[in-house]
Subunit: 460 residues, 2 copies
Amino acid sequence: MVRQSSPQVVRNLAKECNDLIGKHVLLKGWVERTRTHGKVAFFDFRDRSGIIQVTAHENLAPKIAELSLQDVVRVEGEVRSRDERYINPEIETGKIEVHLEKLTIISKAAEMPFDMGGKELSIELPTLLDLRSLTLRHPKILPIFKLQEAIVQGFREILKNEGFTEIFVPTIVSSATEGGAEVFEIKYYDRKAYLAQSPQLYKQIMTSVFERVFTVAHAYRAEPSVTTRHLSEYISLDAEFGFIDGWTDLMDMAEKVTISIIENIRSRVQNRELNPAKKFNLPEIKKKILRVKLQEAQDILFKRTKVDHRDQPDLEPSEEQEMCQWALEETGAPFVFITHYPKKKRPFYTMPDPRDPEYTLSFDLIGISEEWVTGGQRINDYNMLLEHIEEWKNTPENFELYLQAFKYGMPPEGGFAMGLERITKDLLGLSNVREASLFPRDMERIDQRFSVQSHISSKK
Amino acid sequence: MVRQSSPQVVRNLAKECNDLIGKHVLLKGWVERTRTHGKVAFFDFRDRSGIIQVTAHENLAPKIAELSLQDVVRVEGEVRSRDERYINPEIETGKIEVHLEKLTIISKAAEMPFDMGGKELSIELPTLLDLRSLTLRHPKILPIFKLQEAIVQGFREILKNEGFTEIFVPTIVSSATEGGAEVFEIKYYDRKAYLAQSPQLYKQIMTSVFERVFTVAHAYRAEPSVTTRHLSEYISLDAEFGFIDGWTDLMDMAEKVTISIIENIRSRVQNRELNPAKKFNLPEIKKKILRVKLQEAQDILFKRTKVDHRDQPDLEPSEEQEMCQWALEETGAPFVFITHYPKKKRPFYTMPDPRDPEYTLSFDLIGISEEWVTGGQRINDYNMLLEHIEEWKNTPENFELYLQAFKYGMPPEGGFAMGLERITKDLLGLSNVREASLFPRDMERIDQRFSVQSHISSKK
């Protein structure tokens, strides 16, 4: 932590006060919550390091009553130990408080449009998003995005260790790369272009350059319905690598990355770098994650639920959850690979299973309650790729740079992608993926809700 | 480095061979370049760790002649020391070679459409980009993007150390946030939306949540001309922080981040983690970077060039370069802050200079040959922001979430942004910013060049 320089005084952070008992400190931050007990008044003060209680006695106590929540204040005072009875184990500064000596308002806040001072934040999601700039500051919301930062850091760290290079690829593309109609069209000078559905084709190209690559990419889906699982713009954690000895190498890596992300978070929680204001779902994956073919999974589900979906090309969300439950019972952790999806359910570049070409060397890693990872081996043979592009009713002209990479020497390769918001949601047990996006986009909202008239009935 | 598991054999990386003299190794990678000397043939082999020479004697030598450049091969052989005379100091494995015992082609490459085997890559930029999937593999191109990775890592590392939180903000926005006509329009369901010109408004909102934030963002500019300095999509390294004691805190941080990025690269070059295939421009910034008001800079330029632009609101590119030269002479490093740009040249949220409100508390850090950083203090007073939005002929309704953050307690704050491709270009002395973007977008190209008819005359 750096301290800002100032001619007279140095600013202290709330968390630093634990080491400054008996000392005078200068704090700058926000008023989170106020309360009065007779002649003594308190407020919870927040800065980037956390929360600390400020206590005002005598003539300073009335000043607390005048504070608005979220006022930006400058606090001078003495750090004191709290009486045993008043220790608060829920916050990191729970054994101390700041005895107020001087209070200055730096920036005055308007009156809150909702109860921001409560420990819980009991407002409905649409309102919570309408007031996003405020609700993000709430102690039940802010830690969601500290966790999200840690997920991305964990992803990058393990892949750097595994010899991957981080790349930055474009989001404006000239055609709908992966098929499907759910793309956003851009007016690109005097032409049409599109927002990339994923960094897929570029990360594949880059395996012929760096062999092992990853990217934290923006991905876009013009999802024409409102569900709890879809965003129009999301963050995709993508990895791709060449020289696989067999396609199970891909699942091995996906498993290693998943476990590493979870263990990275666990150690940050233990080191108190991450503050679990919400209870984390941090499963311990101690046994190898089971790998079950889609058709085997459907047999398992039929036995468990008596509902026969054995003719379906994919699992429904409730079936994915049931498979997590099955995996939990089998291995102690709610994670399972579902493999060998039908060719027609996967994009054109997916490698067919040589033993049954109507199925593919593809997998989803289902975790806790939904898809954590999707991946598979890609076709690395130039001619087979050309055939698939035509079979998928597309034209090679739309894939010129992509095909170039394969025409001139591409090793056997594959990779996977993880949806950042979905993983965040699952680790915190949130009910809607929008809660795990700072500023979620969907067909009803870009920051502000579109006019009420435009609302269509939402489906789960 | 992890090794891939296989029942019989373990793959070795080229760089590992330095420690395996006398041992049999298994390599997998690409054929970079071949040559024959009578009965002995050689090829340069590339994998993700680097390059190594493979030498074929006797009956294996003719096999080398059959190789195509960029073939993906499996090499078995013995690592041997080179004779003193043949040591190549330009590569990390220059003291050794692999004595070929078995060669297998994993994936055959078509015949190269240009001379890929040369040490230099002498093709014009448009062709270089037409063949991007191949040219990226060339030893003069590939290291550009290893450097780029290192710049981003250096940026993240210093800011994490300074207490910043990494955030992920959207690129789809509902209005042209920063003014100006150069935005791309998106068909967003049945509405219009736009691609964000920068993460500016979101990072500002987030200072009221995390106090100090950074983001590696995609930014979009519908630049209607083709220059050597502009991309339609680029990566913006953005930082923003609150509780500044004065606006010079912002320049202090920008300076610290800039120096940290450069020193991080220097130490990676020294540790041989980065291979400077191109010569790096790595200036040593030993003295404090000078801070010169725009009007003072114009006086300096007038004295040096005798051209009078003292009535202009900004510097021209050639003037920025002249100021870098001036700074080099004054301080030993070609970096200088230009400050106090006129209000009308800066976006609505820029804090006016209280001593002369027609100018602003804004700065550009000019480095080597162009703008490295742009930044400034922002208006944190809600009412002043409202006035500015109206003065800039916009409506507060377009900024609802943004204004919310300021209405409810925002500390004095500011920040800065760095264009990743421009810094990469400057550190390598590249002549065109497109060379520093993996897959550059401009009005003439998305991967493939648009039809020749659409070309307009380009200006520098």
